[in-house]
């Protein structure tokens, strides 16, 4: 099977001006090559500032890459814009880190799920589709939640509302940028389970971004370890977690918390 999405030497530099003349560049991504297949969850791990969010935003074209290429189903989409960008965006969606900020506080939950259906000119019965989506993310019964506003539901539920919202577009790829790091332990599992479930049921490819190696081990098939914008290690999750090669990976594993350990 072919990759859904693949990057080739993706590099991103941010420019910051210093002094009168100097322009200093921060390399947020440095020749990153990743790929994602349908029906798999790929993890991107790294500490804060390693470029994880930057990568995600480039993939959904919220940022432009400095160099490198992006292939969507073997088609070079690095330079798309306008209509074709809109079309591409239907295929790739992003889940944000903070479920408290990613939903519009002034709109009901139903509105959030309905909008993508309207913008993508969904042909079937919209109400049925909303119910279907809400059931899929286990916001049941749908009627109970539809007219609520984001601040009236828990963080985990918000994240699920958000997932329903992006699933409404039938994307082939989901990018989840630390989707559970703001959630309580008791809610994390639910959301992670949901991600696995939609992967299995819909065959979607998911890029799961996190700094928490614990959750990575739970859901991902493969991981890329990102350090200062570079992929320092990649491979099957189990292999890497049990026998890491890179020092940085080792440090990450060492720092991962575990109630059975003692500091």
């Amino acid at each position: 099977m072919n990759e859904l999405i693949r990057t080739e030497n993706l590099t991103k530099e941010f420019e910051t001006r210093t002094g009168f003349t100097g322009i200093s560049k921060i390399k947020a991504l440095d020749n990153v090559n990743i790929s994602l297949f349908p029906n798999e969850i790929v993890g991107i791990v790294g500490a804060s500032g390693s470029g994880k969010s930057t990568l995600a935003k480039i993939l959904v074209f919220l940022y432009k890459s400095t160099s490198g290429k992006i292939y969507f189903k073997d088609e070079d989409i690095t330079k798309i814009h306008g209509k074709s960008l809109k079309k591409y965006r239907k295929e790739i969606q992003m889940i944000f880190q903070d479920p408290y900020a990613s939903l519009d506080p002034y709109h009901s939950i139903e509105w959030h799920i309905k909008r993508p259906l309207l913008t993508s000119h969904y042909s079937g019965n919209i109400d049925d589709r909303i119910d279907e989506l809400m059931n899929m993310v286990k916001l049941t019964p749908p009627e109970y939640y539809k007219n609520k506003f984001p601040h009236q539901v828990s963080g985990g539920q918000r994240q699920r509302v958000y997932i329903a919202r992006v699933l409404a577009l039938n994307p082939q790829i989901l990018i989840a940028d630390e989707p559970v790091s703001m959630l309580d332990v008791s809610l994390r599992i639910d959301v992670l389970d949901l991600l696995s479930k939609i992967k299995n049921e819909l065959g979607i490819g998911i890029i799961y971004i996190t700094h928490d190696l614990n959750t990575v081990s739970m859901v991902t098939d493969r991981i890329y370890v990102l350090h200062n914008g570079e992929v320092v290690e990649d491979g099957y999750t189990n292999t890497i977690l049990t026998s890491p090669h890179d020092g940085y990976t080792k440090a990450l594993i060492e720092a991962a918390s575990d109630p059975y350990k003692r500091i």
Binding site: R89, K90, D104, P116, S120, N147, R165
Partner: protein, 317 residues
């Protein structure tokens, strides 16, 4: 599971059943507004001024324009607030002049806010360069003293348009009064646009227009209302100012022209307080009511200013 209050009991589910459309938003914000004592007073004050002005449209004891009485009479039973130095009835002028004054204040508020919102949101939502250009443009208007512009434009309009009624006045005030709001809206939009829920809407393919109308406008609603109040205040003050400088339409009756004539007659030197004080007090009441309303809005938008009465309950309860 029962519907029950969540999140510190602040919002109850049944209240939010059908909170759709702007009217209900306005209604509910009004309710929040009126919870605040200061804005409640402001609202009542404004309401009474508006009522006063509406009465003035249909009824004044005497013709406010006609010179019917002895000059400079102090208040008495025939002329509740005395007469002007020209023999007009001050109370009739005050009553009849209310509606035009409010009309100007609120038109300036409305138009000024409209322009400010359009420019501000546009600036906040376009490319970096356009944004910078608009920012400079806004700054030009902020930096150029309004008074000078009022005088210049005022004289200009005096010169060219003679039968436009209050239109020139309103135009001048809008020209000089929109920039403050635009700056606010620009920076608010800039910060909102970076928020995840707007990014999310971009990603799901919403058009810019839809985002502006459905999300940004709604998010900045309290600011819009507050800006409307402020611009209206500017309109009321600006009107008096324009009239004082004599670059308005001094033949029409409103609170500004009342002051113009009173001051030209040196009413304060002749001791005709009944001529100069009523319009001043009415104008400041109008301003005052708007300021008070704004207080409530501030607390709405900025919860840290909010206070509740202590309702500590008995611990045995």
């Amino acid at each position: 599971m029962e519907e029950k209050s969540n999140l510190n009991g602040k919002i109850t589910y049944n209240k939010s059943k059908k909170l759709n459309g702007y009217t209900s938003i306005i209604r509910s914000s009004l309710a929040t507004l009126l919870k605040n004592n200061k804005s409640k007073v402001g609202f009542i004050l404004l309401l009474s001024i508006v009522t006063f002005s509406i009465i003035g449209i249909f009824y004044t004891p005497y013709n406010p324009n006609a010179y019917l009485f002895k000059f400079s009479q102090p208040p008495n039973f025939v002329n509740l607030l005395g007469t002007t130095g020209y023999g007009q009835d001050v109370f009739s002028e005050l009553l009849g002049g209310a509606a035009p004054t409010l009309m100007i204040a609120f038109s300036v508020g409305l138009l000024g806010t409209l322009i400010a919102v359009l420019v501000g949101i546009f600036a906040g939502f376009t490319s970096k360069t356009t944004n910078a250009v608009i920012n400079a443009f806004i700054n030009i208007f902020l930096v150029i003293p309004g008074v000078l512009l009022i005088m210049l434009f005022g004289t200009y309009f005096l010169g060219i348009h003679q039968n436009l009624g209050y239109l020139p006045t309103i135009i001048i005030l809008v020209i000089t009064g929109w920039a403050f709001g635009a700056r606010t809206f620009r920076s608010i939009t800039l910060s909102i646009v970076k928020r995840d829920f707007i990014l999310s809407s971009i990603l799901i393919g919403e058009s810019k227009m839809s985002i502006i109308m459905r999300q940004i406008m709604r998010a900045i609603m309290p600011v819009i209302v507050s800006n409307f109040f402020f611009t209206s205040m500017y309109g009321a003050m600006g009107l008096t100012f324009i009239e004082y400088l004599g670059v308005g339409n001094v033949e029409q009756v409103n609170w500004g022209t009342m002051l113009y004539w009173a001051i030209n007659y040196e009413a304060y030197l002749t001791g005709a307080w009944w001529w100069i004080l009523p319009p001043s007090i009415m104008i400041s009441m109008l301003m005052f009511s708007l300021i008070l309303l704004n207080f409530g809005l501030d607390e709405m938008a900025n919860p840290s200013l909010r206070v509740f009465k202590k309702k500590k309950r008995d611990k045995n309860e």
